[in-house]
């Protein structure tokens, strides 16, 4: 009987599940080359360090925040890629963490992925997510004296631009 | 020392100049150039798809009061364009189901009064007034110039 060969994406998910069985909540593979791993937000630094050292995802392409007001949660998405390992260069791994809307705090990954510096500053000012341990968390893109609510949340609406 | 650069610089003194003396010489624009819009009032049915697709929301459908009858548009609703907001993407022209909108090479739309930038449907149906007669020509080893377009008989 022939063995069913596992693809690279399934290998990554199996290794992640065997290393952190209790922190990983769900995984998904979309259209090959896109892996999504949802994890528990308190252990982001351990998972990030393991991703960088053992699997080889050595840089972050970006950090995105998504607001789901109906579920009262904020999601933080870390998009990681690899420059140094040619066999996984075309895979993008999306690490998802869920934060409650009233206490959006998560540890910073700047000590592991230095490319996260400016991305975390932007997520902080656009969504109000507090990254603990960031060396220089201040506003990046909005006005210096803006003290209103974080602009990208879905509560801020612009009725003159039409229905949403 | 700087011989290569000086040779290049001196060689260019004897090449032709790449200048077009606008507004006395104007460029001949290609056929699908995205300038202001041309409305064919005998084809428009007033469906409003142009107003829906417009990214800047600068088109609004207004009733037109004149003596003519439009059998395909009984309510006489036609688009009016606010050119202060238009980004000239011409998605309205491509998405119109009856082909009532067209391209023109008019780009000199500046006005002294801001209210004149709101074009009514009748003003949109006037034909184009732009005449362009020059085009760029590449000469081998002599540079690039703007020359009059040869008139075809």
């Amino acid at each position: 009987m022939s063995q069913k060969s596992t693809s690279r994406e399934e290998t990554i998910i199996e290794k992640a599940k065997s290393r952190f069985p209790e922190y990983i909540k769900e995984t998904k593979i979309d259209n090959n080359r896109r892996v999504t791993i949802s994890f528990d937000k308190d252990h982001v630094q351990e998972i990030a360090k393991w991703m960088r050292d053992d699997i080889g995802f050595d840089h972050l392409k970006g950090i995105a925040g998504v607001d789901y007001p109906t579920h009262k949660k904020l999601e933080v998405l870390y998009l990681a890629g690899s420059f140094s390992k040619p066999e996984i260069q075309d895979i993008i791994v999306t690490l998802k963490a869920e934060l409650p809307k009233d206490a959006p705090t998560i540890s910073s990954v700047v000590s592991i992925w230095e490319s996260a510096h400016f991305h975390e500053r932007e997520a902080f000012e656009m969504f109000g997510i507090n990254f603990e341990g960031h060396p220089d968390l201040r506003k990046l893109l909005t006005l210096d004296n803006w003290d209103g609510p974080p602009p990208m949340l879905k509560d801020i609406k612009f009725p003159e631009m039409g229905q949403r | 020392m700087f011989l290569g650069e000086m040779y290049e610089g001196i060689k260019h003194i004897f090449k032709r100049t790449f200048t077009m003396k606008y507004p006395y010489q104007k460029l001949l624009l290609p056929k699908g150039f995205r300038g202001r819009h041309l409305l064919y009032m005998d084809k428009c049915t007033g469906c409003g798809i142009c107003a829906w697709i417009c990214p800047e929301r600068c088109i609004s459908m207004v009733p037109v009061t004149n003596d003519k009858e439009y059998p395909q548009n009984p309510e006489k609703r036609f688009p009016q364009y606010w050119y202060a907001r238009c980004c000239f993407c011409h998605f309205c022209t491509d998405y119109c189901p009856t082909g009532a909108l067209d391209y023109t090479p008019d780009y000199e739309l500046a006005e002294y009064d801001r209210d004149l930038l709101l074009w009514s449907p009748e003003r949109l149906s006037r034909p184009t007034t732009h005449i362009g007669e020059y085009q760029s020509v590449i000469h081998d080893n002599q540079g690039v110039t703007y020359e009059p377009v040869p008139k075809t008989k």
């Binding site: 392409k61 420059f83 612009f158 | 290569g4 998605f91």
Partner: protein
Amino acid sequence: MTANPPTPTIASNEAKEPSTMDVSVGPQHPGSGHVRLLMRVDGDYIVSIDPDIGYVHRGCEKIAEYRNYVSNIPHLERPCIIDAIHLNWAYVLPVEELQGVIVPPRGQYISTIAAEMNRIMSHLYWLAINAGVFSGHTTIFMWAFGDRDLFIELAEWLTGARLTYSFLPPGGPRRDFPSGFEQKLAKLLDYFEKRLVEYDRMFLSNPLVVARAKGIGVLKKKDAIKLGVTGPVLRGSGVEYDVRKVEPYGAYADLEFQIPTFKEGDSYSRYLVRFEEMKQSISIIRQALNKMPKGPIARKAPLVAPEGEAIGRVESSRGEITVMVIGDNSDKPYRVKIMNGSFRNLIALPYLIRNVHVADMPIIYGSLDYWPVEADR
């Protein structure tokens, strides 16, 4: 909002030395967009630099949630308008993946040719302003802008507009080649190839340019990987990574080209990467013109996108643009996140401009090809 903005300072953790002075470079528009750099200077040496960006921030991603998928195209191609086809394509790739639309082969070839023309145009703009005017070389500014205008006239013939193309809605390009376009493009490429030899003699081999750029702003290979930079900055430091080879899109899987990589990591090797990329673009366009298939150019795409997430990426002239689109079964996207080359390369600016002369700052800034409007969105 409070009445008076607080006085900006450099937020560095070390205490301010008494011999240093804070100089504000800007807010000004160095040929590309509004940016401000706060420099801490000790005599002729720059101790540290703090980029104060956000002067051109418009809330692109927020506005994109209020427009439907087709109306978003003129809006989302404006951040880097001199490279509009790549931004347009990077937004449309995930939308097509969500909707399940496949572009026919002739449409892929037309998009590829338009994208490579746009890469040449963007590199000519970089050569004129960021490499030419910032180092005082105004001759190459005039020459590069003159040749760029010939490419712009061809793009105007193909799409109808000089810079703001809006050429690729979901499903494929809007127009086919007009008759006579391929011959005129081939003639322009022959002319431009000879001009690149003249540019080499006038600019790249110029002892002044070599003296100002060689050995300045060295970014080593492991630092480039750690900082996550992208585009010619990455390839000028020895990492061979190009999205057109890693994850081919469009017609790149059928075409042969090389990725210029240089290992020194200084500003001069970043100049050389962009020069060689222009030569490779000429070869790609010639191969694509020879291999053009026949057939339809586009397919009809639905107006709504189902629920789900999709990520697409392209290699633009400033780096890799990654776009994530989240759909929610309506005709407007729920979230659009754009990660582009200028924002990812921003971290190299305070990293490279440390303990250098004040006169080296424009050279390093120009070699990174930072486009403020793209970084701020």
